[in-house]
């Protein structure tokens, strides 16, 4: 089905640009990354340079880190074919328990964090049990959870606001420390940026080496160099911005937590057996089971993992706002779900990436932030965010139905064949109660 290969080693070809990011993987990510860049540029111009001021980007990271953390868990839930509506309530419930543990039971801040994660784990195990082992749809289980844990928060906290220790507040309000000679920048942040660039270079070289070992054709060298230069440049500029904010500020601790989670979960979803199993169950549950995958365990894991991350997000929020309140986390589930779908996940499961979801979340974050900077009222902001979600997913669906992976795919159409959409949808038709011997002509209708 694919067009004949042409000589790819010579000269500049627009299709090589596809390899710049994603490296043959999800092209959707590339499209949405482009959208993020465009949105940043538009707001940078429109707000007269306010968007990329150090104070503002620090603010964006602090304000949206917990939504992005939720998006990491949510994309795994959605890849597996479920949904979690309870994350905001789980965050609020954990928040109040942690706040009370420190205030009334004299937990030190670090023990309170561990307690919070355990609470998240228990809630997740409860919800995972209903989804995976009883077979209640996650929509229902987590809708119930949304009510239960919200009510739990207000019952335990007596609908009051409970302040938290300054030690605890670091995970939401803290910054990388100052040390060393004063160059007018935050040294820790700059070092972190340089470290990330070195890691990028290392990964790129390793990637080229493995491709050579496998005998696969690597992208042209200039692609690799260009990729490192662009990504490294972005990282260094970002580091410089974070390092030159108001005195006493630098890269936020919540941003560090987020970054560590993004790396860890990207690894988990891409490189580990459990990651493969999540995609397998979401892509075709029956085929996965017939390949020996324990789909119940996978479903239990994604639901439990989501609640642990929701608990963490809740604690970061409480730390940032210095108190746990009865309405913390309201509507978070919607922001997280929107981020995941803007980031290219499929409602029917099996498709989605951690990186894509983070980019999707950043699109929403920059959009909300930019509109707020322009003094647009929150009612209008909501309308605009809703439209962006609809258009982003609508464009994606349209492209898929046209057999194109993305806007970039459209530009380079001559090479790409048809997307998996039609077959994927028909594959969702499960044999249900019928005998497996039924007359589906396996290969005929297309």
């Amino acid at each position: 089905m694919s067009a004949p290969e042409t000589d790819r080693s010579s000269g500049f070809q627009i299709r090589d640009l596809k390899k710049l990011f994603g490296g043959g993987g999800s092209l959707k990510q590339f499209g949405i990354l482009g959208a993020l860049v465009v949105i940043i540029i538009i707001f940078q111009v429109w707000t007269g340079g306010k968007t990329l001021q150090p104070g503002n980007i620090i603010n964006i990271v602090q304000q949206y880190s917990y939504i992005l953390i939720l998006a990491i868990g949510m994309v795994m839930v959605i890849i597996a074919g479920h949904i979690d509506l309870s994350v905001g309530s789980v965050a609020a419930f954990t928040g109040i328990i942690v706040a009370l543990a420190m205030k009334d039971w004299n937990f030190p801040w670090w023990a309170a964090i561990i307690l919070g994660l355990v609470v998240g784990g228990l809630i997740g195990a409860w919800q995972g049990f209903w989804v995976a082992y009883v077979g209640v749809p996650a929509f229902i289980v987590t809708l119930a959870g949304m009510l239960i844990w919200r009510g739990g928060n207000q019952f335990i906290g007596d609908s009051a606001t409970v302040p938290v220790d300054t030690g605890f507040q670091v995970i939401g309000k803290g910054y990388l420390p100052e040390f060393g000679p004063n160059f007018g920048v935050n040294n820790a942040t700059m070092l972190l940026g340089i470290f990330v660039v070195l890691v990028l270079i290392g990964l790129e070289m390793r990637g080229r080496r493995t491709r050579k070992v496998m005998g696969a054709s690597a992208a042209p060298v200039w692609i690799s160099v260009l990729r490192v230069v662009i990504l490294g440049g972005v990282v260094l500029v970002a580091a410089y911005l974070f390092a030159t904010g108001r005195v006493g500020t630098s890269f936020p601790v919540s941003g560090i937590i987020l970054a560590v989670l993004v790396v860890a979960y990207s690894f988990l979803t891409n490189k580990t057996t459990i990651g493969r199993h999540i995609y397998a169950v979401g892509g075709n549950k029956h085929a996965a089971e017939l390949s020996g995958v324990n789909s119940k365990r996978v479903n239990f894991f994604v639901m439990m993992n989501m609640s642990v991350l929701a608990a963490l997000a809740g604690m970061i929020f409480v730390a940032r706002s210095q108190a746990s309140g009865p309405f913390d986390g309201t509507g978070w589930e919607l922001d997280a779900i929107a981020a995941v779908f803007i980031g290219g996940a499929a409602v029917s499961g099996g498709i989605g990436t951690v990186a894509g979801s983070i980019i999707g979340g950043l699109v929403m974050a920059v959009l909300s932030n930019g509109l707020a900077l322009k003094g647009i009222q929150s009612d209008l902001v909501q309308i605009i965010k809703g439209l962006v979600l609809l258009i982003a997913v609508g464009v994606d669906v349209f492209n898929k139905s046209q057999g194109r992976p993305s806007i970039i795919g459209l530009m380079t159409r001559n090479r790409s064949g048809q997307g998996p959409t039609d077959d994927a949808i028909s594959a969702q038709v499960t044999p249900g109660g019928g005998t497996p011997d039924t007359a589906v002509p396996a290969d005929l209708p297309r």
Binding site: S2, G24, N284, L290, G417, R446
Partner: protein
């Protein structure tokens, strides 16, 4: 063509219908003539093209997607969808009933055809007509009963009542008795005969040759997408053997690999295997079946659709189907328990499912991910998958099985059916199985790819693996297997060495439970 006694006018004539799917010619200049007041049976092996032909007739495949003419009641018709064919009085009842279980009988009968005005349903009128229609099909149940609360036999009658409501003139029944017990089947056959008396013609697809012999006036035999012959049951004195000869009569070419089997000792044995239908507790889909497999042997399992072959295989493979009732599995002389798929894989058993797209592959995956998906642990350290090993393994299979693709990074949907099947085979070969169960391994793939799959099967056997090949295509069973079991209605009805087997004998054992055959 023979001159039948039926002097009624011709109601339907399908003239040299040709229908192609990518890579497969499903129908090749098929002709079919049905007269008024006639029951016309269509016989053929699975995949011969019977259902495709009926889908062309009823507009499931709209005009323009096939070649040839359909002449119905004297005029050439061009149906764009089922609505149009139904409006003309052609109603198809599929094997899988299209009733909504949660709705009542009345609601089902009038679904999409509700009496009333401006969208407001006249339930009094509907009720009255429902009772009338039910009486015509001999059903005296309360029309308010939910369809899920009546048996399959009665549901079939409701389907016919629904068809009658549409003023059906030509009724198409696809395997109408496949899920019915004997008395329900008889009732249904009587009803079809009764409808014929009232001027309604029927086209009936069935594997149950005794039923066809009993009620059909004409039989058209389809083989490999071609209409072979039309028999007049009464004039030609047709019996089951005559039909079978038509269905299987073809020369065995050299499409099958030359081989000399070196068959070892029995290493796998199933004893008294009994499995219950997952939903209907009183229905046993596999009954007390026993069989053995030797090392280096290809064992054929011959059965028609619905005979219980897939159910047998899947229930052994980690209880993936139905409810386990009783039975034992022995491997290398010791009893083994196969309660989950993981256990089955662990014991060196692989099952290549009949339905590649919904059970065999994750269509969102790439080739390389699919190949390793049934035994990730083999290329993982701890739980981290080694990408390099994954690419190398799948590259090896791409070469050795000659999977036609530019790279193993390609999505499996981009492959043709035959190449997809090779990916599935690679996936299971990668698990290092001792026993491979292949369920219709060549369904829906073209002739060239079939020959390659046969060669792979023989190669696997030559490596000392045991193979069970389930198929309803007798030539391939006879060409590839060393020994063949036949299965009918959940029971193993015969066992033959391939040297003793011939298509007629097999088909007889596949269509009746009586063990009249002397092996």
């Amino acid at each position: 063509m023979e001159t039948g006694r039926n002097t009624h006018p011709t109601i339907l004539e399908m003239r040299s219908i040709t229908k192609e799917f990518p890579g497969v010619k499903a129908l090749d200049t098929v002709s079919l003539t049905v007269k008024a007041r006639e029951i016309h049976a269509i016989c053929g092996e699975n995949g011969a093209g019977k259902s495709t032909l009926m889908n062309v007739l009823s507009g499931v495949y709209p005009f323009g997607t096939y070649d040839g003419d359909i002449v119905y009641e004297g005029t050439v018709v061009r149906f764009r969808d089922i609505k149009q064919s139904e409006a003309a009085g052609i109603v198809i009842i599929h094997q899988e009933l299209a009733l909504i279980p949660e709705l009542s009988i009345t609601e089902n009968i009038f679904l999409g055809n509700e009496p009333g005005r401006h969208g407001v349903i006249n339930w009094v009128e509907a009720q009255r007509r429902a009772i009338e229609l039910l009486a015509r099909v001999g059903l005296d149940d309360d029309p308010d009963t939910q369809v899920k609360n009546i048996g399959v036999g009665k549901q079939q009658l409701v389907e016919i009542a629904k068809a009658l409501n549409k003023n059906v003139k030509l009724l198409i029944l696809d395997e109408p008795t496949a899920a019915l017990n004997e008395s329900d089947s008889q009732h249904l056959l009587d009803l079809i005969l009764g409808l014929k008396g009232k001027g309604i013609s029927s086209i009936m697809i069935s594997h149950k040759l005794n039923e066809i012999e009993q009620i059909a006036d004409q039989i058209t035999i389809i083989r490999d997408g071609k209409s072979i012959e039309t028999l007049d049951v009464k004039a030609d004195g047709v019996d089951e053997d005559r039909i079978i000869r038509g269905m299987v009569g073809r020369t065995l070419g050299n499409r099958f690999p030359e081989h000399t089997a070196t068959i070892g000792e029995v290493f796998f044995e199933v004893r008294n295997w009994t499995v219950q239908h997952p939903l209907t507790t009183e229905r046993l889909v596999v009954k007390n079946s026993s069989f053995t497999v030797r090392r280096g042997e290809v064992v054929g399992l011959a059965g028609l659709m619905g005979a219980g072959r897939t159910e047998l295989a899947m229930s052994i493979f980690g209880r993936s189907y139905g409810k386990f009732i009783s039975g034992q599995v022995f491997k290398d002389g010791e009893e083994i328990k196969l309660r989950t798929v993981a256990e089955a894989i662990g014991h060196g058993i692989a099952y290549v499912s009949e339905d590649r797209k919904s059970l065999g592959l994750n269509l969102l995956d790439t080739i390389k991910r699919s190949v390793v998906s049934a035994k990730l642990s083999k290329i993982s350290r701890g739980s981290v998958v080694n990408d390099t090993a994954e690419a190398q393994v799948s590259e090896e299979y791409r070469k050795s099985l000659r999977i036609k693709t530019p790279t193993v990074e390609e999505g499996v949907t981009k492959l043709s059916g035959g190449n997809q099947q090779k990916v599935v085979l690679a996936k299971w070969m990668f698990t290092d199985p001792d026993l491979l169960i292949l369920d219709e391994p060549t369904r829906g793939i073209d002739v060239g790819a079939k020959a390659e799959i046969y060669q792979i099967i023989r190669d696997l056997a030559a490596q000392g693996k045991g193979i069970i090949m389930i198929s309803s295509e007798l030539p391939e069973l006879l060409g590839v297997s060393d020994r063949i079991y036949t299965i009918f209605e959940g029971k193993i009805t015969n066992e033959l060495l391939v040297a003793q087997a011939d298509p007629e004998t097999l088909m007889r054992s596949m269509t009746s439970s009586s063990q009249k055959v002397v092996a």
